[in-house]
Assembly symmetry: C2
Homo-oligomer: 558 residues x 2
């Protein structure tokens, strides 16, 4: 690279500032200009729900460095040697002359043209706002910038409990649900699909819904918003499932890449609407790079395009683009679809493919539901983690992990993300020397236990059935024995209607009480005893025995 | 395998019961006998410090299943189809006739001989009790079994603050230190080596020592115990570093594999004193397997033998031995040396090789010290993690990670354990799609940031120097500039004597205040600004510039 090269970066939230700082670190003589339409750079958009909830006290914290210096243009100039044009729009790109036309944020056509040698588009994403009747009313917000957060905060700062409706059950929707409940609001969350958090399989999402409902949130799934009612300000939300009163509405149905500039100059746009880049973050036009929420990523597992707008990914993009611009050789190979969020007392995460996604991608899979405590079970602060593991039957490689519950789900997701990156089989995963002491994990880590259950299934040692399938059998009035082998105390506390109760310790002596001529589904709390029951029945001559995955802990039906 | 095979397992703590249960699951017709010298099976020895501290209320919790069923012989017989001979010693093995001689725990010579087809030795480990003068006195304990824990508890249950001395600064030593402080004891910990927790490098162990000292623990390193004083009961500990009063002493200088039976029949014993097994857990004599704390493991990184007695490993051993006995093909490839413990508010872990170990094994390494918060920095409950990463210069592969601090160190260690298992380079590690949301990690995960710093070092973009080396320079009175680029507030709060203070924002204008003809070591809080300062100085023509690794956070000198 020419030492004195001029680099223009359009967009100053995550990928842009990261790339800018890296470029000046690698080449102090480079002239780097960041064009940002807003006032501030590098603000942590992902922190907005925590600013609304009050966990983060000051707006400034979201736009400061870890030691409290606000990242304003002066900071970037003095410390990073980066010139920042804030409150500035990039309106046009002249590819032939390698210039960018800019104007003040309140203008429309370029008042100045800046020359570039290399250009990075970090134009981010924009919230989807569907053309629903009444959507222009007051107090209907998206949550995409600091202004949105301030708007929401100003509405809920009074004494009165407000009725809030969140439209969209994705990550931002559930984070905002928690934030608003924390602030004393009565919240309804409306999701068009059968379940919230569509990156989870149904039974995992259902666990999150149950938890939200236990916290007083009304969860309306399979529900489409048809109109917003009220005079100037919104007072209600009409849906195909009835009306809900609402003094505040948050539209959180997703974001789409902001690609107008890219389209105008003919950059290749992917099927998902994002800019197509190669592993060096190069676009289809030489000397133009793109990074962050405006680009499409490759899913490492499927090899197909995906849209995964996340601050963590944007930062990596920015670094890779910068390194390549400065003549180093760096690559961004793709994403796993890792995602996590906090929903009240639950941590909810996934990486890789859900079962649904894996089946759609053509994999033949084995799965397991495995609930267990996140520490040695005798530690009083051990908390439940419900895992769902998805494995490729063809080569025994992990395809995905979902984790839901009050325990340390993020740790399990990150372990799985490493396994997916390394394309590990579950046989390898079951043997990893993860760190163990009672305050940190069970002696057999949850993920190792789950791996071992899948191994047993793949090796034909265990025949699993999901709670959903068992429920389907019940609804179809199939003739089978649902065998609960828990203790009497556990059974009395909660049991599944119609189940036969024989505690495991008594099973060998009471085996004759179970009809041999119809299928048996054994279960316990988490189905380890259920598995042992199945083995006892097998040795007693039973032929058709399954174990209900995840036991009664993961039963979410009536 | 012959369906009706007889399998005898000697030892009923971790590997033994695991193997027994797995065998009967795989082959319900097998006759499995576990011989255990104590009363109970499957007790969680690693939970004993938490029973002493009172975190675990009842002894029974340590010997129960997660749902509270005590694992007594009746439980094993009824539920697992395993016969347990507790309070029973295995005193002899007759290899030729394939029999084991047993007797009651209070006898010595075999009163009965049991026939086996396959034998598994799970004889565990025994605490090292050195022949120090006075070691036979009352109130000197090891902490290896429930009886030890009860003994310690009974001594500290009074009202009076007791003087306790822990001899040995390993995992059990520091866990017991915390436990006894929790119970109101005044604790001194004595370690023969220069630092406690020898699996850590010095500067990391020093951070733990400082934390223990801040909690009122007297840490005596480089100190050897020479005698215990007192009449019947211990009253003091004499060392080469002075006397310490003591009403209770815990000997925690380590354990050694219990291999008398193995030696008697001529099984191959390794250089570290453990039974040598192959990856199927077979010993050197056909049909005899060994598992758990009595065997040596292979360190996956070095390929050399190591002794790593841990409940997590023992469980894996037990499963692998059982699978192979039952005709499946399973392998245990080795360990990474992963270890973790809680020390008051600190979590302390490591996996792979420390720098010391790596150098001794002949690697040329690059390292980094990287302190950073475990969540997005604006989250009020973000906690510090201090990482030390060790990387192989030859192939850029991770060799080890150490993590110390109040943050979620266990998660970082497990991520690193996965990277080590997959033999990942730091370039791969820096790009993994770990899950991100503000309550769970920084947007750039700590481990990704640490990887990027090492990449910068390996790529010649940054010249690091450790705090220890800087301190050595000071002690040698070398002529250099120690440049602190933090803010004035940070400097006023704490600074290093003799450092030159120029805040980063002012550096470009004040560069002339720094002598150009001698080395400059730049630092800040964590040395990110220190790195930026070094780049500014480089562009200003400075030649000899280093960045102090880990900044003032990891400075532990006066």
């Amino acid at each position: 690279m020419n030492k004195k090269e001029k680099i223009i970066i359009i967009g100053g939230v995550a990928a842009g500032p990261k790339a800018a700082a890296r470029i000046t670190r690698l080449n102090n003589d480079a002239e780097v200009i960041v064009i940002e339409k807003g006032e501030f750079l590098s603000y942590a958009g992902c922190g907005l729900p925590y600013y609304v909830s009050g966990v983060v006290k000051e707006q400034a914290e979201l736009m400061s460095t870890p030691i409290g210096v606000v990242r304003d243009p002066a900071f970037f100039e003095k410390v990073k040697n980066v010139k920042v044009l804030n409150n500035t729009l990039a309106t046009e790109i002249d590819v032939k002359n390698k210039t960018v036309g800019i104007c003040k944020a309140d203008e429309k056509s370029p008042s100045e043209w800046l020359k570039y040698d290399k250009l990075i588009l970090c134009t981010g994403a924009t919230p989807v706002v569907p053309p629903i009747k009444g959507i222009e009313k007051n107090n209907i917000f998206t949550l995409h910038g600091v202004e949105d957060a301030e708007g929401v905060k100003s509405k809920i700062s009074g004494e009165k409990a407000m009725d809030c409706v969140i439209v969209g059950g994705g990550l931002i929707g559930v984070e905002m649900t928690e934030a608003l409940v924390e602030r004393g609001c009565r919240v309804t969350i409306i999701e068009r699909l059968p379940h919230i958090l569509s990156f989870l399989d149904d039974e995992m999402a259902r666990q999150v819904e149950l938890h939200m409902e236990a916290k007083g949130v009304k969860v309306m799934t399979n529900t489409t918003v048809t109109a917003f009612t009220g005079e100037d300000s919104v007072t209600g939300v009409e849906t195909d499932n009835g009306c809900v009163s609402a003094e505040i509405v948050i539209m959180a149905i997703g974001v789409r890449p902001r690609v107008e500039l890219a389209k105008n100059i003919g950059l290749e746009i992917g099927t998902l609407g994002g800019i197509v880049v190669d592993e060096k973050m190069c676009t289809s036009i030489p000397d133009i790079y793109a990074a962050g929420d405006c680009v499409e990523n490759i899913n490492i597992i499927t090899g197909k395009s995906c849209y995964a707008p996340l601050g963590s990914t944007a930062n990596k993009h920015g670094r890779v683009a910068a390194s390549n611009i400065c003549g180093l050789n760096d690559k961004f190979n793709g994403v796993l679809g890792s995602a996590i969020c906090k929903v009240f007392d639950f941590n909810v995460g996934r990486t890789g493919l859900s079962e649904d996604e894996a089946l759609k991608a053509g994999y033949e899979v084995e799965t397991v539901l495995s609930p267990s405590p996140d520490k040695a079970h005798f530690m009083p602060d051990a908390k439940l983690i419900m895992l769902k593991m998805v494995v490729d039957k063809a080569n025994r490689c992990l395809l995905g992990l979902q984790a839901v519950g009050p325990g340390s789900c993020d740790k399990k997701i990150d372990i799985a993300a490493m396994a997916l990156t390394a394309k590990m089989t579950i046989d390898q995963l079951a043997e990893v020397d993860l760190c163990y002491a009672p305050p940190f994990s069970p002696a057999m880590d949850n993920i190792i236990t789950a791996s071992n259950i899948v191994r047993n299934k793949l090796d034909g040692l265990m025949n699993g059935i999901t709670p959903a399938e068992v429920n389907k059998w019940r609804e179809e009035k199939r003739d089978f024995t649902l065998l609960d082998v828990r203790s009497k105390g556990e059974y009395d506390e909660k049991h599944i209607e119609g189940s036969l109760h024989i505690p495991l310790g008594a099973l060998r002596t009471k085996v004759d009480e179970i009809p041999k001529d119809k299928p048996v589904v054994a279960f316990c709390k988490i189905s380890l005893r259920g598995y042992e029951a199945a083995l006892i029945l097998k040795s007693a001559g039973f032929k058709d025995i399954s174990v209900m995955d995840g036991g009664i802990v993961m039963w979410s039906f009536n």
